[in-house]
Every structure is written in C-alpha cells, then in structure tokens.
Amino acid sequence: MGIIWLFPGILLAAWVQVTALGGFGLLGARPNLVLVGILAAALVRGPVGALMLSTFAATLMAAVSAAPGPLWFLAYLPAGLAAAIPEGALNRQNPVVVVFLALGTALLFDLVFFVGLSAAGWRLDVEPPLGARLLLDGIFNGLLIIPAVWLVRRLAAPTPAYR
C-alpha cells in the first residue's frame, strides 16, 4: 500500500490529539500521536515522504492551535528528518535505537515550542520543571513508537523493486 494512506492516518491522529487526548495529561505531558506517526513514516518510507507528511501535519495543527503556526513546522521537522541520518551511523532496525529516536524527537519538539514561545513573548514558568516534563513526553512517545512503526509498515511499506 502507498504512502497516501498515511495522510488520512495523520488526520485521524491529529483529530484524536485535539479531542480525546486533549483532556489527558500526566503532569502536563501527553502522548504526541502526530509526531510518533511522522517518525514512524520516516523510518518506514524515508525522509521525503515523512517531510511531506510533517508539512501536512504542521499545516493541520497550525490551523487549530493558539500557538504561532511556524513553530509547528519547525517542531515536526526533526522527526521528518530522522530517516535522513545515514544507516551506518544509526541502525534504524534496532528497536532500542527507534525508541531513543522517539524520545529524542519528542524532546526536540518540546524544546522548539519552549524556545519559540519564549521568543514570541509567552511567559513560560512551567510546573513541573521543564526537564521532568520533557522526559515524560519522551517516554510516552518512546512507548508508542514500536506499535506505530508496525502499523505504518502494514499500511504503507514500500513495494520491493524486484519480484
């Protein structure tokens, strides 16, 4: 199946993120389904497809969010680019590496917002301390990434070039 299926998938994830997951939060942290989806797409389909998906997701989220729109494009970018790291430098078949990639991209996502919102004049003396919150966000995404990669493989694994 093609990457086209991932677009409605991301739309669904965004909808769940805004509605059902909106009220959920552990010390302010919550799973980031859209980010996990983009990272899973990057790992399965490569950076080009993932960047298309991240642009689509950022457009969706910027439209619904009170936060400045450009932050969404910047925040999803690292996940989209995760697959651009050469395979030799990072073994993306290793589940531990995948989990750490999810954790890392979640941290970068939050940092982009923290820095971006602060630069835009938002006052952000957040509780609990920033480090704990970033870690929790990362753990949520680290737990979700393996099932997400499995799902994306089922939906949109690339067709082999040989038969």
């Binding site: 805004v18 009220g23 302010g28 619904v64 969010s65 009170a66 919102l117 938002w122 952000l124 919150r133």
Partner: protein, 277 residues
C-alpha cells in the same frame, strides 16, 4: 340365552332417568356424603397427576414455541439496549440542562453583557499552552480579545479566530495575567495580579506585604487595564505565601471554574479591550 338388546337399552335408560331424577335429593342424604368422600380421595391424586403432567405439557408446548420464544427474547434484548441508550442520552441531556441553567445564571448576574454560547470542541495540542477550541468563530461575530466566562466566573480570552472556531487562552496558561482584587465587605482595596501557573493553577502576585490576606477570600477582576470587565469571579485564596524579606506577598488561587471539565462557555460579545496598536 341373551336378553334382547332393545330391552336392555330400555332398562339402562330408565335407570339413568331414575338416578337423574333422584339426584337433587342426594345432598341431604348420607349417601351424598359418601360420594363427596370419594372425590376427597380421588382429587389429590388428580392434582398429583396434574402437577406432573402440566410441566411436561409446558415443556412440550415450549419446544413447539422455541423459535417464537427466541424471537421474543431477541426483541426484548434489543428493547433493553434501546432503553439503556435512551437512559444514557437522557442523563446527558440532564447534565447539559444543568450546565446551561448555570450559564443562564451567569447571564442573569451580568445583565449589561451580551453573550454568545459556545461548546468546547477541542483542547490545545501545543505543549506549554493551555487553551481550548470553541465552536463559534468570526462568522458568529467573535473577535480576538473577547472575554470568555463559565458559569462560575472568568475563563480566559479569545486569542485566535477562524470562520467557525475560536481559540480561548485559559486563565491558567502561564502567559495569562489579570488585574485582580480581593472582594471584601470592608472598604479595604487589596489588589494584585493573577497569573497562570499551568496545570489548572493560579497565583496572585504583587499584593502589598501589610495587607490582611486570608484563606477563603474571593478574588475578582479589578477592571484595571480594561482587558477584562470589573467584578468577574476568578477564584478563591487557598494558600497565602508571606516572606518578611519580600516586598510583596503571594496567594495561591483555586479557579472559580473547573477548567478540566469545560463543555460550554459564554463569550462576552459587547466588551472589547482597548487596542494598543
């Protein structure tokens, strides 16, 4: 030698007639009592037979009606499911009714304002931002800066609007700040600035050290700065933080509106903060 059949039939008919004609007189006779006794003996036996036969007959009848009974059970289960759904819907309607009554109360308490009722349809997906998405937008006359209230008090203000939706930055967002005062019956004016702390918490800052602040004091908007109308409930003081070395004391405020369970809000449409540009 066999008697002729016609004569036997005649005798039997006469006997039956005789018995029939004398029957009304049996009740007063000992004979009648004996017949009654006979039934007393026979009837319990009859009942035992009936007790045995009737269930068996019922089972046989039931076997014959099994398809009909299955259909009836299926219909009853469907009816129970439908009624359960109806009950859930009615509970939902009752809760909504309650919420709307409360909002109507807020409307009556503030007769000078015009309100637009909106449903909360989503929550802010960005980290560090506490906002909700409501189903009223520019096509309903909603503009950025409009003040949003719940049944019990101030909620926040509209920060971004699209045609059919608006984003409401909650009071508890760390970037929110409202000029506030303590509501007291005495003439004393205790003022400060209520700022969001995230996670549904509020803090009142810049309260002069000497002011007699107490747990339970009600906090309302002061109207200073004209960003929010005067007198809207913000919450109540649950903790006072006082340090002698600090020039100001602080108070932890419990929001008047339960921000975690927001479903309907009121947007004040005839109060606009002054534009700074």
């Amino acid at each position: 030698m066999r008697p002729p059949a016609g004569r036997v039939i005649l005798l039997a008919a006469l006997f039956s007639l005789a018995v029939g004609l004398t029957q009304p007189f049996w009740g007063s006779q000992a004979n009648g009592v004996a017949w009654g006794r006979l039934w007393d003996i026979v009837l319990p036996g009859t009942s035992a037979i009936t007790d045995f036969v009737e269930p068996a007959a019922g089972i046989l009848t039931g076997l014959g009606r099994i398809q009909e009974l299955e259909e009836e059970a299926r219909q009853l289960r469907a009816e129970v499911d439908r009624l359960r759904g109806e009950l859930t819907r009615l509970r939902e309607v009752e809760e909504e009714n309650q919420r709307l009554r409360e909002l109507l109360g807020a409307k009556r308490r503030n007769p000078n304002f015009q309100f637009a009722l909106a449903d909360v349809i989503g929550r802010e997906p960005a980290p560090f931002v506490e906002a909700v998405i409501v189903n009223k937008g520019s096509q309903d006359g909603i503009e950025p800066g409009m003040v949003v209230v719940g049944a019990a008090g101030l909620l926040g203000k509209v920060v971004k609007v699209s045609a059919g939706t608006a984003r409401v930055l909650l009071l508890t967002d760390p970037s929110s700040a409202v000029a506030a005062r303590i509501q007291r019956s005495d003439a004393r004016e205790i003022t400060g600035l209520v700022v969001g702390q995230g996670q549904g918490r509020l803090l009142m800052r810049y309260i002069a050290q000497g002011e007699p602040l107490q747990v339970g004091d009600q906090v309302v908007t002061s109207g200073l700065g004209e960003t929010f109308p005067k007198g809207l409930a913000i919450g109540r003081v649950v903790q006072v933080r006082r340090l002698d070395v600090e020039p100001f004391q602080e108070a932890v405020i419990e929001p008047a509106v339960a921000l975690g369970r927001l479903e309907n809000v009121l947007i004040i449409t005839n109060f606009r903060p002054p534009r700074l540009d």
